[in-house]
């Protein structure tokens, strides 16, 4: 039984990792072929860094991810603090709104935001589809994840410590920054990293809200429609390693304090 269990788990992991492994191996293939091995090379990595389209898409992706994850983290943390202090029925209603973008199919979120941006652009001339609309869209879908990773931390916190700070003469603002913030920091950082990785990886919502702006997933998508260059394999290998490192950082943090795990929210 134990043997069967191990084989089963191994097969599932093989299934999950095989495509990633294939991508990585073929990034070192000395041919344009996607299925035949022609010898080892680094040339796709060199070409990748000379490909201006890919590099500018990479730059936009990073810019959007950085700005929107920071905005989402600040707004989300503030919201989580507010939600915890709200009355029960208010809290319930707000959590329903928070869950909305998570339940809604991505494509519906995408087209609904597209309708909004097109409407605003046609009637008021603001929000021309591009980097700015992408930042707003990404912040919107990242917000629930920040709130859901900060809330458990707030719930765990001993509210007496905050009251003690007030009793000792701190004003509410100062006691928030000196007492509450350090305690919920792990949740905030987890939320920030999650937002950042989700923003980098988002395709569906960007596809509908980005206009002609190229982010990496969109560039990848348009390449898969045409003849695909192995530079994309090289890029995905690099990205995989980056995400891998980020995830190990998140999980080490989680290991350090078990209760901030995001999947306990299910």
């Amino acid at each position: 039984m134990k043997f069967f269990r191990k084989i089963y788990m191994f097969l599932i992991f093989l299934f999950l990792y095989a495509p990633i492994f294939v991508l990585m191996v073929f990034s070192f293939n000395d041919s344009k072929s996607r299925a035949t091995w022609h010898g080892f090379t680094f040339k796709w990595y060199h070409r990748l860094f000379e490909n201006n389209d890919i590099l500018s898409a990479f730059y936009s992706t990073m810019l959007i991810a950085a700005i929107s994850s920071v905005i989402a983290t600040i707004l989300g943390t503030m919201a989580a603090v507010g939600i915890m202090k709200s009355k029960k029925w208010q809290r319930k209603m707000i959590m329903n709104i928070t869950n909305l973008p998570m339940i809604n199919p991505e494509i519906v979120t995408g087209v609904s935001l597209m309708l909004l941006f097109v409407f605003l652009y046609n009637h008021f001339g603001i929000f021309k589809p591009g980097i700015v609309t992408l930042i707003f869209a990404h912040t919107t879908f990242c917000l629930p994840y920040v709130i859901l990773s900060v809330m458990p931390k707030l719930r765990q916190m001993d509210s007496h410590i905050y009251e003690a700070a007030l009793d000792l003469g701190c004003n509410p603002t100062k006691s928030f920054f000196k007492v509450v913030l350090p305690q919920i920091m792990p949740g905030i950082v987890t939320g920030l990293i999650m937002s950042f990785t989700m923003s980098i990886d988002d395709f569906v919502i960007s596809y509908f809200t980005g206009g002609t702006t190229q982010t990496l997933p969109i560039a990848v998508y348009s390449m898969t429609r045409k003849m695909v260059s192995p530079e994309i394999n090289a890029l995905s290998t690099i990205l995989f390693l980056v995400v891998f490192v980020l995830l190990i950082v998140i999980n080490l943090r989680r290991e350090k304090d078990k209760n901030s795990s995001i999947y306990s929210e299910y």
């Binding site: 495509p19 294939v22 507010g82 991505e106 519906v108 609904s112 395709f203 995400v243 995830l247």
Partner: protein
């Protein structure tokens, strides 16, 4: 009514970027291009009921495969030593956070007519199989992409299951199979239910997987919506109507699942 000051920016944000856009979808679904009220868009959606049916069947098949494959996995993970469980869960989440476009694209390489599997088959003397551009390839892509969403919630519930309940059943003379069907499985239903929605919703609304692994030959709801907004048949009114129907369908489906969940809880 007092709203906390720190909550205000978030509420405004949600109103502008979540509520208003959804309202726009509803308004567009019931409007003509001239801005008059109409039911025509909704009626037109009926013409595509075949597409809806196909998407639902594909989504359901993938979800059921995910349950059948994912449940044992979740069960086995919950049985290994506690300190290794976190590592295994992390390994499960890593692919989930890597670009899903690239992973799906990689499946193209594997499944193609001249792809890796067929290369292997012909090298051992078996004739090539046509795998890509079939419904099977799409189901594979969906299962591949959404399997972790099934395993994680089931695992979370199984890991929390009280050992004492299981021991009690064993003491009362139940064999392993009976313990599983009478105790462990009923207790894990909430995990299966949340896994079901987490897999079914993205599967039924995807348009990339069908495009990449179905080669455009299999047309699903996601493709239909995408075509109305960014394709050559630009018609956001019809597109909104389709989105609205899709949304309602998912709300109803989730309502049924929640009902099942609470009934199960009432019984135990």
């Amino acid at each position: 009514m007092k709203i906390r000051l720190t909550l205000l920016p978030y509420l405004i944000w949600s109103a502008v970027f979540v509520i208003i856009p959804l309202m726009l979808v509803i308004i567009f679904a019931f409007s003509t291009p001239e801005g008059n009220f109409t039911f025509n868009n909704i009626i037109l959606v009926g013409k595509y009921s075949y597409v809806f049916l196909k998407s639902i069947v594909l989504g359901l098949v993938s979800t059921i495969v995910c349950i059948c494959v994912g449940y044992p996995m979740a069960y086995f993970i919950s049985k290994i030593k506690a300190k290794y469980q976190n590592v295994v869960i992390m390994l499960l989440m890593i692919p989930m956070w890597t670009s899903f476009l690239l992973r799906t694209y990689s499946w193209m390489t594997i499944l193609e007519y001249n792809g890796l599997i067929n290369k292997f088959l012909s090298s051992v003397g078996i004739s090539k199989i046509n795998m890509i551009n079939t419904p099977g390839a799409i189901v594979l892509g969906m299962v591949y992409n959404f399997l972790p969403y099934m395993i994680l919630p089931i695992y979370t519930i199984l890991a929390k299951t009280d050992e004492k309940v299981i021991e009690a059943a064993q003491d009362l003379g139940a064999n392993n199979l009976k313990v599983f069907w009478k105790v462990i499985f009923p207790l894990s239903i909430p995990g299966v239910v949340s896994g079901f929605t987490m897999v079914f919703v993205p599967s039924v609304s995807t348009f990339i997987i069908s495009k990449m692994l179905g080669g455009g030959s299999i047309f699903v709801i996601g493709d239909l919506i995408e075509m109305q907004f960014l394709g050559n048949t630009y018609n956001p009114y019809l597109g909104s109507a389709i989105s609205l129907v899709l949304m309602l369908m998912i709300v109803i489906c989730m309502g049924i699942m929640n009902q099942l969940d609470s009934e199960e809880n009432a019984n135990t």
